[in-house]
Symmetry: C2
Subunit: 166 residues, 2 copies
């Protein structure tokens, strides 16, 4: 068991602005990383691709480049904010290396490609892992990753605290 | 971190006769259980429901009760064999409590119900977790469980060793 504890592991955690993602990171820190100082924790955030911002809004009006620039700046600020929060959650992990990666692209592709490229030992994510995705699609990103990523995938759901089962 | 290591956790591992399931259990032992003597590891095997054995075979001939009895005996023997193998894999885990459960039913229902009923902290399974399921449906059981079980779900895939990427 001592051998296993000394193993160097790379653990990729997909983070976003959701509470579910934040919970997944905390759960991972408490249950997976604990006690293993040889782990490297890689925090990954994906900024939705530019194509999401159409140059035409819903009414057909052209969205000015100023507005597009503002939206991109906003996306970068959100990314920075999410990463700062995630890094603070990792502060108690003495000895564990924490790295951060911010990529542009669809969360599903970004996560799968990063897991592959970085040869991680494990991928951890909330049950959706995509801040803007609606409840109807909840789970689609984690499902996609669970099917396509070759390493073990841990999907963490935030327990309901309002007492309602649904 | 010492507090977290001392936590009492219940970890449910869905086992079956596949190599993938065997790998998932080994990976869990090495990466999740290691060093935490307060864990309880619950090994769960589900025997496919009796309805799977139709009383009519493919050619319309009635399958005798003798054959049905033989098939049921075979199922029980497989279950016993899988459990013995799984328990042997856990032998190195000094101090960790190992429990075994064998249930009749569809793997998806059995796993989800057990996770709920036993209030486990984590569910671990191979990427299919259903020995007889074909490659076309690979992942359906783990997908179903990942969507329906409330606790964190770890899906472990067996790495390919033949050098082919597909």
């Amino acid at each position: 068991m001592a051998d296993a504890a000394a193993k160097e592991r790379k653990i990729l955690v997909a983070v976003d602005e959701s509470e579910e993602s934040s919970y997944a990171l905390s759960w991972c820190i408490e249950n997976i990383i604990t006690g293993n100082c040889n782990d490297t924790l890689i925090l990954l955030y994906s900024i939705p691709p530019r194509a999401v911002y159409s140059t035409l809004d819903g009414t057909g009006y052209l969205v000015s480049s100023d507005i597009l620039a503002t939206m991109e700046r906003y996306s970068s600020e959100v990314a920075q904010c999410v990463m700062e929060k995630a890094k603070r959650a990792c502060e108690a992990l003495n000895g564990v290396k924490v790295e951060t990666i911010v990529e542009h692209g669809d969360a599903r592709d970004v996560i799968c490609q990063a897991a592959e490229k970085l040869h991680v030992d494990m991928l951890v994510m909330g049950s959706h892992g995509y801040g803007v995705i609606k409840r109807a699609f909840l789970g689609s990103v984690s499902n996609h990753c669970a099917q396509n990523v070759k390493c073990p995938v841990l999907i963490v759901k935030k327990p309901k605290t309002d007492g309602r089962s649904k």
